[in-house]
């Protein structure tokens, strides 16, 4: 399974990378903002799952998700928002834009694993 981690915090990317590695993901790509993530997708194609932060410079997570979902080539990629934006308004916007699951920061390994299991990627 391949994953894409999109978060402006390298510390959070490091935590998620270890977590995914422990769940036997073999290809893990990282991007520090939505634009970098789109570049990664156009270079290497969609991953099986993307873990996407909301608050990032250059292009935020919501815009990234909308752009990803405007290209049917990415339909195979499941998207989990992993964000500190925990209110209902944000959650609804993200799901409407095409995110499949939503996890709040701070997260635990168990929560991320459960979300991935719901999506059938672990």
């Amino acid at each position: 399974m391949r994953a894409l981690i999109v978060d402006d915090s390298r510390a959070t990317r490091a935590v998620l990378r270890r977590l995914l590695h422990g769940l036997s993901f073999d290809g893990i790509a990282e991007a520090g903002d939505g634009r970098q993530a789109l570049e990664e997708l156009s270079a290497n194609g969609p991953a099986d799952v993307a873990l996407v932060d909301w608050n990032m410079p250059v292009m935020d997570g919501l815009e990234f998700v909308s752009r990803v979902r405007s290209d049917t080539a990415n339909d195979v990629m499941r998207i989990v928002m992993v964000t500190t934006e925990a209110d209902a308004d944000h959650m609804v916007s993200a799901l409407e834009a095409g995110a499949d699951e939503y996890a709040m920061k701070p997260f635990t390994a168990a929560v991320i694993r459960d979300k991935l299991a719901l999506l059938g990627v672990v």
Partner: protein, 151 residues
């Protein structure tokens, strides 16, 4: 206009336990970092129905410990850049959870981080609504919510 006051103690304890495996204990309200101590401060601004900021201040030693945990390295290997990244993300998480507990519609800024000794963090036109000091594994941690009154 703010009818809900978020509970900084619960939010802080949840974040520190989940992200760093460090439990935080409430300290005396007046507890602060020692004069001359190196302190790392992460700040996020709130804009919208509640204007203000959330600050997270930890001793350099505590900040390095937290950073080492996130990057899974030894504390001696933590760079200043790693430290800023981690404490910025910590401020983002704390601010995000505070924002969720506030009424109305609010936006969160990207975090900024300051490191130094004997400095004061002020947010123009704002006052401290809640300040909580903690003992985090023997080090001092201070989390503050400031809001700006509307003219």
């Amino acid at each position: 206009m703010q009818t809900t006051v978020p509970d900084l103690s619960t939010i802080t304890n949840e974040i520190w336990t989940a992200m760093f495996g460090i439990g935080v204990e409430p300290a005396d309200d007046g507890a602060d970092h020692a004069r001359g101590e190196r302190v790392v401060t992460g700040v996020v601004q709130l804009t919208g129905d509640a204007e203000g900021a959330v600050t997270v201040q930890c001793s350099d030693r505590l900040a390095r410990r937290a950073t080492a945990t996130m990057f899974a390295v030894d504390v001696t290997e933590v760079s200043d850049e790693d430290l800023s990244d981690c404490i910025g993300e910590l401020a983002n998480m704390t601010g995000g959870n505070v924002k969720s507990a506030l009424d109305g519609h609010n936006e969160l800024s990207l975090p900024s981080v300051t490191v130094g000794r004997d400095y004061e963090v002020t947010v123009r036109g704002s006052r401290v609504v809640q300040r909580r000091a903690f003992d985090a594994a023997g080090d001092t941690l201070v989390v503050t919510l400031l809001t700006r009154d509307r003219a």
